[in-house]
């Protein structure tokens, strides 16, 4: 009955339901998470927040969720996975999180995918130069790249705009672009849960919808 709001299945899940790195798939996650908030406590950037009602309904109340308006997920940190007592966030190493070493085949752990809202982005919508999201992107090569374009702005001046776009192949959903976007209330760069690597069905690109054991 609690689950009847359909937030768990893959058809109607909330774009805001971004789980910590290493989390198991959502249905499994709710079988394990006991809402003890230890992950929220150790998170160095404060990005982990207790889930409210709008993300996951009553069933997921006070489970951990990432809010990229508050912080971002540090690249070289897997503390939340090491304190989880029940394995809702399984224990991962930084190597596994970033997809280095023996995890190269599997690739980095993706929390979601970033998007650019072109009607709120300063270069796209307002012809004001800004490359904050491209600069802060920690992935190499960068998951946010730019089109360079020379335009005349409202005042008749020639400006060079670097209009950002996302490369979903590279984006891991760390959310630093959303955190640092100067349009702070509803950031023009934003991360949603689609593409998260914990669920096969929620992956964005077909080429990643392969079973890691097969490849």
């Amino acid at each position: 009955l609690i689950r009847s709001n359909g937030k768990v299945n893959d058809a109607n899940y909330s774009p805001l339901m971004i789980r910590p790195p290493g989390s198991v798939a959502e249905a499994e996650f709710l079988k394990k998470c006991i809402k003890c908030a230890q992950c929220i406590r150790v998170c160095p950037t404060n990005v982990l927040q207790p889930t409210g009602l709008q993300e996951g309904g009553i069933e997921a109340l006070w489970t951990p969720v990432l809010n990229f308006n508050v912080g971002h997920c540090q690249q070289k940190c897997s503390l939340c996975s090491s304190v989880c007592p029940t394995g809702a966030i399984r224990e991962i190493s930084v190597t596994e999180k970033l997809g280095f070493g023996k995890f190269k085949q599997q690739g980095p752990i993706r929390l979601g995918t970033a998007f650019i809202n072109r009607s709120r982005c300063l270069p796209w919508a307002n012809e004001i130069p800004c490359i904050v999201c491209q600069e802060v992107c920690p992935i190499a090569p960068k998951a946010i790249q730019t089109y360079d374009e020379e335009v005349k702005d409202t005042f008749g001046n020639l400006v060079v705009l670097n209009k950002p776009f996302i490369i979903p192949d590279l984006c891991t959903g760390c959310g630093i672009c959303q955190k640092e976007c100067p349009v702070t209330d509803k950031p023009a760069a934003y991360v949603t849960a689609v593409g998260e690597s914990r669920s096969q069905e929620r992956r964005l690109l077909l080429r990643y919808r392969t079973n890691p054991e097969e490849s």
């Binding site: 609690i2 689950r3 249905a27 499994e28 709710l30 079988k31 394990k32 998470c33 006991i34 809402k35 003890c36 908030a37 230890q38 929220i40 406590r41 150790v42 998170c43 160095p44 950037t45 404060n46 927040q49 207790p50 889930t51 409210g52 069933e59 109340l61 006070w62 809010n67 508050v70 912080g71 540090q74 940190c77 503390l79 090491s82 304190v83 989880c84 007592p85 029940t86 394995g87 224990e91 955190k179 640092e180």
Partner: protein, 309 residues
Amino acid sequence: MKTLFRLTNIRIISQVVFLGLFLFAVWASWTTRIQGYPVSRFLEIDLLVALSTALSTGHIYRFLGWSILLLLLTLLFGRVFCNWMCPLGTLHQFFGWLFNIRSVKERQDQNRYQPRQIIKYSILFILLIIAASGSVQIGLLDPIALLHRSVSTGISVIWDSVMSGSFTNLQLAPGTAERIFTGSFWIGIVFVTIIVVNIWHPRFFCRTLCPLGALLGLLSVFPLFRIHRDLELCTDCDLCLTRCEGACSPEGSIRLSECVVCMNCIDECPENALSFSLPRQISTPVSLHPISIVATLSLPGSLVSSDFH
């Protein structure tokens, strides 16, 4: 009688130690302080966590098997966890004691068994059914999870604001000015409510709501060690009720599932009629008057047998 080495003093030391350990674990689970040592031991010996996740997933994760220690402890001594170890229980007892301005008589009435204490078994039952059907909700009421959540997202915000200006900026990652937690108001309200209720109903949470207490209560129906009352010495003065933590009717036939083994009744008893010991031949009138046994055997249902049971 009033010596320093009373069991209750040892109990209070144990409670302080475990509360301290819990607070240390909370303090230590911080980015700059966590050094690889485990800080979630409390949750890992929490039998309810192990049981409900085992029900929902079919296996026991990592260190949750340590809860077998708590299981054995409970089978041996009853609900000692509740009044010797549980940090939330300690807080409840402390606040109950702090706000206790009642007379002895009122306190005795407060600590009598009340039928509403059955509610916790219903809560446990419902939560376990929900867990078995694939959604673990025990964290909402499990004492350790509840306390940790409240301390780390509700109380620590206040702590942060007290400490800000001294070394807060060292503790947080660059770019994080202060910590906020969405919904921490409601988490805090739940916590403050269950603490404040202690003013009117001592240990309301432990007696009426706690699902872990209910689980341990079900396990401690036949503990090896238990509180015994010597009917010969007892004068039915009801003094044992004055500081009874579990509302487990020590004045009558003790309800072992409610008893949290606080040992206060042993302290209070002026006749030394109560003891915490191994099962033994309870000195009921039956054993003292052999004739009544004969009467019981020969005349089942007679007045004699109903008087001496």
